[in-house]
């Protein structure tokens, strides 16, 4: 066999063997990886809408995914909104629960973030930053209170506390939530939410 033929044969053989090997590995792990992702979403939904029994996707595009959730009697609990946007360092991905009439935020959770540890990363703090989002009125866009106040009673109905020293990270979270709220209402008005809901059920 001359040299160039041998080169082609060896490379093709190595490529074929690796390729077939990898497709087997891909098939074996595919289901489990999908399951992991789904589990993560489900955990997040039951975190932001604790009485959720079943949930299903009602809207999806590249920046926004909306799940509708129902309790054990099949009554609507609200919607879980999965949204992402740029933070101070990297993409922040979050999920929040909202009641069916879009008037109150039930809870917020941060799924992915790479903000500065000890500073911007406090956006994941369930005992302070995230606590102030519970029950906020979201009929109009939310706003940030800076400097932060001690008791939630001192906040206006649609205000949330900023993190001291990490105003930018707090603002980014606020922007993601406000932008997705605006889109959520738009989608609802266009009727896309209900029509897909019918398709899904």
């Amino acid at each position: 066999m001359n040299l160039s033929a041998r080169m082609i044969v060896v490379l093709t053989a190595v490529g074929l063997i690796s390729g077939s090997f990898l497709s087997v590995v891909g098939l074996l792990t595919k289901e489990r990886i999908a399951m992991n992702q789904q589990l993560e979403i489900q955990n997040a939904i039951s975190e932001v809408l604790p009485s959720t029994k079943t949930s299903h996707k009602v809207f999806e595009d590249e920046s926004l995914t909306i799940y509708e959730s129902r309790d054990e009697n099949d009554n609507p609990v609200g919607f879980a909104v999965y949204a992402s946007g740029t933070g101070f360092q990297d993409i922040i991905t979050l999920m929040y629960g909202i009641d069916p009439s879009f008037s109150k935020i039930k809870a917020l959770t941060i799924l992915e973030q790479k903000e500065t540890p000890g500073l911007g990363a406090k956006i994941t703090d369930k005992t302070s930053f995230l606590r102030y989002w519970e029950g906020r009125n979201c009929e109009q866009p939310l706003s940030l209170r800076k400097p932060a106040v001690e008791s939630p009673g001192n906040l206006a109905p649609s205000e949330v506390n900023a993190i001291t020293g990490a105003t930018i990270s707090s603002e980014k979270v606020l922007d993601i939530v406000n932008l997705s709220l605006e889109r959520l209402k738009e989608i609802k008005q266009k009727g896309q939410l209900s029509s897909e809901e019918k398709n899904a059920t």
């Binding site: 101070f88 000890g118 500073l119 800076k146 105003t167």
Partner: protein
């Protein structure tokens, strides 16, 4: 016979009266008004931070000199004392003393001795110590207390620049008054608050020709022009240049930190390039960056360019031709 003798000696051929320690002690004297002002405004807290800083810088320096088997006399050349004083002046008065010690050790160890000691360091050691603390303890380094001369009943307090960046709206007139900035009756790092005390020390240094006048002049004018352009175009969004010059660490940075002989350019043209770079970077960070203050990062950033600036602004030897590229 005598006049035909050549004396062969390596450079330097001209010797100044000034020695390293003489210059260093002039700098220490020039810092006294600002140190005194900060002790007046922040009382015992300030004095404790100064003592801890200088003492731990000297101890770290001594340990390194001992380990590297160097002459112990250079401990008292004044450079470690200056690093300690300058570092203390850039710290918030409420900082706990254990963090002060960590910052001092890092300033001498990482800022100076790992490069080989005085004269070999690339960065201003005091600012290395401060940068380390700023990134390691972001919350403690941005918690400010009001000076004891201000009658306010709050535990925490915003600096004039922090107030400008995060809280105040310019049109409402809630900015810190210029009079307070000038005398130092504001919150902030120990030594940066009183403009008048810093200027007094700076005048002494300029008079003694210890520092290159081009560097502070370049930094202040670059910042004034930069912030001035934005102020003129939209005065309702940006504040006037005088506020930027008096607020924060600009004066202490321009007169006492950027002028450090080891880490600033040696040629006049180089000094201008370096100073204009620092001034515009400060403006950029203050107006558009995530931090309210940018003096420390701007000086450290331009420090990295000093060897390059020195190389390209070296004066040509008489008769040397410009090499064609």
């Amino acid at each position: 016979m005598k006049e035909n003798t050549f004396i062969l000696k390596s450079s330097p051929h001209f010797r100044d009266k000034d020695s390293v320690s003489k210059i260093m002690y002039a700098v220490i004297i020039s810092l006294i008004p600002a140190v005194a002002a900060s002790i007046y405004f922040f009382r015992l807290k300030a004095a404790l931070i100064y003592i801890t800083c200088v003492a731990s810088c000297l101890i770290t320096e001594a340990v390194f000199l001992k380990v590297r088997k160097k002459d112990m006399h250079s401990l008292w050349d004044g450079s470690a004392i200056i690093t300690g004083l300058l570092l203390a002046m850039t710290l918030p008065p409420s900082l706990s003393l254990d963090l002060v010690i960590i910052g001092s050790v890092m300033a001498i160890a990482l800022g100076k001795q790992v490069f080989g000691g005085l004269g070999y360091n690339v960065f201003n050691p005091a600012l290395v110590g401060r940068a380390f603390l700023q990134i390691a303890f972001p919350v403690a380094m941005t918690t400010w207390i009001p000076p004891s001369t201000l009658q306010v009943n709050t535990a925490t307090f915003a600096t004039p620049l922090g107030n400008l960046k995060f809280l105040a709206s310019i049109t409402e007139g809630s900015l810190t008054p210029l009079k307070d900035l000038f005398w130092g009756n504001v919150g902030g790092c120990l030594g940066e608050t009183s403009a008048i005390a810093l200027l007094a020390g700076a005048l002494f240094l300029l008079f003694r020709k210890v520092i290159d006048w081009r560097i502070p002049v370049g930094i202040i004018s670059a910042l004034a022009v930069f912030t001035g352009i934005f102020w003129i175009t939209s005065p309702d969004k940006y504040t006037h240049p005088l506020f930027h010059v008096l607020a924060g660490g600009l004066l202490i940075g321009a007169f006492f930190m950027a002028t450090d002989m080891v880490t600033s350019p040696i040629t006049p043209l180089g000094a201008w390039i370096y100073a204009l770079g620092i001034g515009s970077l400060i403006g950029l960070i203050r107006l558009f960056g995530g931090f309210p203050e940018g003096v420390m990062f701007s000086i450290l950033f331009m420090n990295t360019f000093v060897p390059l600036i020195n190389r390209y602004t070296r004066p040509r030897i008489l008769g040397e031709r410009r090499r064609r590229a």
